[in-house]
């Protein structure tokens, strides 16, 4: 598979307004490749640099050092800025602060309007996107009438309408209730499965990361773990040390392992956990 995102030696520092103060280095040398069609979770606590990394994938921020290449476009290439943003769409945390229009369908059309897509095509793409996220029936509603999860799905539809190859979601569920979280996650997974869109999901919920193809853990501006979920979560000590959780099932297996039981800590689902415990009792 081809890489859709290639990050090489990425450093980023925020320039302070105060010239006396030293710039704060947020990203300290990141190398990361993401393959076309992958579903990757980027885990880390607040302030570890994961949001800053996300903003680089869309040229909202540009590297202080190193390169970020998305679908063959260097994010520093200003000529291809709109091209880039169309191919790698971004969904943010607060559903309220990314909806521009007072009518759902017009919000979904916003990017297409900006790109100058002709009416007939725009109409088709807006309707298709709304259907894809299950919000077609709400197309004439005002966003203020929607729940958090629904608003977030509208925001996703607005990105899907651009027909991107990749969607970056920056903590899209942090402000939602469990119902809203489920809706949004189901939608993202479906987009990945059915449309083959690459997903980069920034989150601090470990249970969301457990369902991904791959988990990248960040700490202090660096990538510290990068593997399939079961392998990442089995490093319970390391994750706890950097202020992250592991799923309860993984934690239980790990605790039992520490107490001398013959059990693998590479467990991320309830069924696996129950099966492993059953095995302990039967042996």
């Amino acid at each position: 598979m081809e890489n859709i995102i290639e990050i090489k030696g990425l450093h980023f520092s925020y320039e302070s307004d105060d010239a006396e103060k030293k710039p704060v280095e947020v990203l300290k040398g990141i190398d990361l490749d993401i393959k076309q069609g992958e579903f990757v979770a980027v885990l880390g606590h607040n302030g570890c640099g994961k949001s800053t990394l996300a903003k680089h994938l869309n040229a909202i921020l540009l590297p202080t050092e190193g390169t970020v290449i998305v679908d063959g476009i260097d994010t520093k290439d200003n000529e291809k800025l709109f091209d880039l943003r169309q191919r790698a769409g971004m969904v943010f945390q607060n559903p309220d602060n990314q909806i521009v229009s007072s009518v759902v369908e017009e919000d979904v059309a916003f990017a297409l309007e900006n790109l100058g897509v002709p009416y007939e095509e725009m109409r088709r793409r807006v309707d298709d996107s709304l259907k894809a996220v299950g919000m077609y029936d709400y197309r004439l509603h005002s966003p203020s009438q929607l729940s958090g999860g629904q608003k977030q799905r509208v925001a996703i539809a607005g990105i899907i309408a651009m027909e991107p190859k990749c969607i970056i979601l920056d903590e899209p569920t942090a402000m939602l209730d469990p119902q809203g979280r489920k809706e949004v996650l189901a939608t993202i997974h479906r987009m990945n499965r059915e449309k083959g869109i690459t997903i980069v999901l920034i989150t601090h919920y470990m249970d969301e990361a457990a369902d991904c193809d791959r988990v990248v853990v960040m700490d202090k501006g660096m990538v510290v773990l990068d593997n399939v979920p079961a392998k990442v979560f089995s490093q319970v000590d390391k994750l706890k040390a950097i202020g992250l959780d592991v799923p309860q099932v993984t934690e239980l297996a790990w605790e039992l392992l520490k107490a001398g039981c013959d059990i693998s800590p590479e467990i991320i689902s309830e069924e696996e956990c129950a099966a492993a415990i059953e095995k302990l009792f039967n042996s």
Partner: protein, 267 residues
């Protein structure tokens, strides 16, 4: 509760008036205003009234909503009529007491003015009652678009308007929440002396402003991510298409205007 306030006073519906092209509705409203102000006798006003009530009937919005729209301006109406009543010295004196002198012409002028203003308010309310604020903004943008040639920021203004409309419910809800939170800390907002209330207002306004700026900042980033780059080369999902009924409505309005002008000249 603050949430209950409806902004824009739009009554969704599907009447002929609702379906008119908003651009035409704006132009018709302008002609309507001209109509009311060119006619200077009661006959002209009667023609204007026929037009107003005809349109209201077609809109299928209850008449009482239109009287409601006049209510906030009640005091203004009383003052206008009093001024006309008291300071018009022409005509035959009907009533005199100390310095107060009421003439027949004063009486008719004041009645004329009041009716004219009431019609004006009711007619223009019809525009906002039957057109959603967002459609209205859109129509204004398109009507003003020729001004872009002289570097007038038509698109920017319209965008600002529509974002404001989008965030009004959000900010109202937020105000509600902040008010409750400060009340929970013992701030007196509904009760207490004026000085205390004014001071406590700060505890609501500061968080509200901070939050509005944060929202603006995040929205700007989100818009950039969706390739926003001003009005140039933009296409629109919302298509405004004029239908025969729009031209008919316009023609009828022009006919009414002509009638008013003729009646004004004749009598």
């Amino acid at each position: 509760m603050l949430r209950d306030i409806t902004i824009g006073q739009y009554f969704p519906g599907n009447s002929v008036i609702h379906r008119l092209d908003p651009r035409f509705k704006i132009i018709i409203t302008i002609i309507y205003i001209v109509m009311l102000f060119t006619g200077d006798n009661f006959l002209c006003l009667a023609v204007g009234a026929v037009f107003t009530f005809g349109a209201i009937l077609l809109s299928r919005i209850p008449l009482k909503m239109f009287f409601k729209s006049v209510k906030p301006l009640f005091i203004f109406l009383i003052i206008t009529s009093l001024i006309n009543l008291l300071f018009m010295s022409r005509g035959d004196v009907l009533f005199e007491w100390k310095f107060i002198k009421i003439t027949d012409e004063g009486l008719t002028t004041s009645a004329f003015m009041v009716i004219r203003i009431v019609l004006l308010i009711m007619g223009t309310s019809l525009l906002t009652y039957t057109t959603s604020p967002i459609t209205l903004t859109d129509a204004i943008e398109r009507l003003l678009s020729p001004l872009r040639k002289i570097k007038f920021p038509v698109h920017e203004l319209a965008m600002m308007m529509s974002i404001a409309l989008r965030f009004i419910p959000t900010l109202i809800e937020e105000t509600d929440k902040i008010m409750s939170a400060q009340k929970a800390r013992g701030a007196e907002i509904d009760t207490g002396s004026f000085a205390v209330r004014a001071k406590n207002l700060v505890s609501i306004l500061v968080p509200l402003f901070i939050s509005a700026f944060r929202r603006a900042d995040e929205l700007a980033t989100a818009m950039e991510c969706r390739c926003y780059h001003g009005g140039e080369g933009r296409t629109r999902l919302r298509q405004l298409r004029s239908a025969p009924r729009d031209y008919i409505a316009l023609a009828v309005t022009v006919l009414f205007l002509a009638a008013v002008i003729v009646l004004g000249k004749l009598f």
